[in-house]
Amino acid sequence: MNTFYKYAVFLIISLVIVAGIVLPIPNIPALGDKARVLYFHVPMSWISVVAFVMSLWYAVRFLKSKEISYDIKSFSAAQLGFLFCILATATGSLWAKFNWGSFWNWDPRQTSIFILLLIYGAYFALRSAIDAEEQKARLSSVYAIIAGITMPFFIFIMPRLVETLHPDPIINNSGKINMDTSMLIIFLTSLLGFTLLFLWVMNLKTRLEMLKYRKSLKQAQ
């Protein structure tokens, strides 16, 4: 990754942090200044979902090709997804504390992210319980796919159980964008910045895991 990319990511995220905290925010009923969390919370949630989908995609590629590098990518994406999932949970429950009165109240959105955390946890538990590299890759890929295909059911199930109180910041049910222009610009810049950050760290992580794998091969020889 070239230097320009790194500086660009640094610049964009610094800008978002400063602008997100300092710039005035339009008065949204019942949210007010607390709405600022969306600049950070939404990109985290977005990335944790993107990383999960990437991990699944590489799991499928691995099973098709049995190429261990795909498994390394799948594992790296899962690790980063887990990290961003924790960040999204933390920022979300901080906001919930000040808006809903408690850190955790089993809102459907909270339940969904909790399940995503559980799946990641189970995936890592499975990986650590298998010794042989090829078998670890094969079984954890199968598990990721099985878990991945059951996830979409929550989209149908959750609304039946409880009504969510979670705001729809980007596009609400009537399809209207709820933010004024300055807010939207900061939000989209933040989304871009954190996605670029994720892709950069993903690249680093994959290379690191690849080196670790090669080293273990050398030691085995």
Partner: protein, 212 residues
Amino acid sequence: MTSFSVISEDLSKKYSGKTIFAGLNFKLNKGESAVITGRNGSGKSTLMKIISGLISPSTGKMKFIKNEVELEKDFIKTNMGFVSPYLNLYDELTALENLRLFSALKSRSGNYDDEKLKSYLQLVGLYDRRNDEIKAYSSGMKQKLKIAFSLLHEPALLMMDEPRSNLDRDGISIIENIAMKQKENGILIIATNDEDDLKLCDLKINIEDHKK
């Protein structure tokens, strides 16, 4: 006369980065036999598992050719018998039930020929104990039953991994008889370090020579 041959094409296996063997090529025709040798832990059993299709090789492939046609996976099952230490039969079933089960599964029709199964049990000397659950068997008797298992459907390819383990003198002469017969009617592959087995076979494959 049906023709049958087993071909290994550039077979290799890596395990967690360790090369077990590489660049392994051989071809065996009906009436030929091979012995696989190598130190303990050198990968004899791994090679046997790959030939039998229990595990897949890292590169290369195994081909089974019957009457000039390459066999599909489902049909390899009825053309191959396998005796090995890591292949066990069901403890809670009797000897005859075990053979019936696997014979029916392999034929895919749900049928088995009881007379034939009994003749296999007679051959390995377990006929009198045919209705005992095999958890009561000694390890030598279990080994004999595994040999009967490997003979189901009179396989064109018979594979034996350490066939002499746990066997008494009777057992060993049974093995030798079966091996001699198999060499005439089909293909025999033995994985062993036993001097007597080495003498039985035409082709010798030493895993140590295929490490790189």
